[in-house]
């Protein structure tokens, strides 16, 4: 069965330092993978998506993610954290059979001033 595992429930970084949010997936074929962000009291927003094109995917707000098939990973990174990045981040895989989205448990990103 397809699934995603977000390896950290919380990540805390200082403003201006790099961000790394880790996600591993299990999928039988080349998966479609996504990262969504959820700010407090706001709806979920699509950050970026991987759909079998370039393995390095650039998203909004300076985020990017690299698809590594050999490691079954799709980690989200940003070179320099900003206070406004504080939010919950979800890694998502699309089920091959019916295109349903399968969500990870989320990683809460905390930015220290």
């Amino acid at each position: 069965a397809q699934s995603v595992t977000q390896l950290d429930s919380h990540v805390s970084v200082s403003e201006g330092t790099p961000v790394l949010l880790r996600c591993n997936y299990s999928s039988s074929y080349s998966p479609s993978l996504f990262w969504y962000v959820q700010h407090p009291n706001k709806g979920l927003q699509l950050l970026l998506k991987y759909t079998s094109a370039a393995t390095l995917v650039k998203g909004i707000n300076g985020f990017e993610a690299e698809f590594k098939k050999s490691e079954t990973s799709f980690h989200l990174t940003k070179p320099s954290a900003h206070m406004s990045d504080a939010a919950e981040y979800f890694c998502v895989v699309r089920r091959d059979s019916n295109y349903q989205l399968i969500w990870g448990a989320g990683t809460k990103l905390i930015i220290k001033p």
């Binding site: 479609s32 996504f34 969504y36 709806g43 699509l46 295109y99 989205l101 969500w103 989320g106």
Partner: protein, 113 residues
């Protein structure tokens, strides 16, 4: 262009009651999906509507039902509420051909006492 809107934003119900949540999709979108997000968890897929019919369903009991109107707006109905139904209910809209790229509303926070 209005995004996805949901109403109400919050509501409190008693066990055994019934509730109806409403969603208006983003302009140009014809597909609506509903999710349940319990505290500290990722969204769980409830069902998806397209052309006024339920097209896909997640692992939720029949107490959860829905409807889609000709203008693509949608309702989620939950009967015989249980304490465990307390959650944030999210509506997402998309086009039929790009259901992976979903736009989310801010959600309805349901509390069952």
């Amino acid at each position: 262009d209005a995004g996805v809107t949901q109403s109400p934003t919050h509501l409190i119900k008693t066990r055994g009651q019934q509730v109806t949540l409403r969603c208006s999709p983003k302009s140009g979108h014809d597909t609506v999906s509903w999710y349940q997000q319990a505290l500290g968890q990722g969204p769980q897929f409830i069902f998806q509507y397209y052309e006024e019919e339920e097209r896909q369903r997640g692992n939720f009991p029949d107490r959860f039902s829905g409807h889609q109107y000709p203008n693509y707006s949608s309702e989620l109905n939950v009967n015989a509420l249980l304490l465990g139904d307390s959650a944030l209910y999210l509506c997402a809209s998309s086009t039929r051909l790009a259901t992976y790229e979903q736009y989310f509303g801010p959600g309805t926070r349901l509390t069952v006492t």
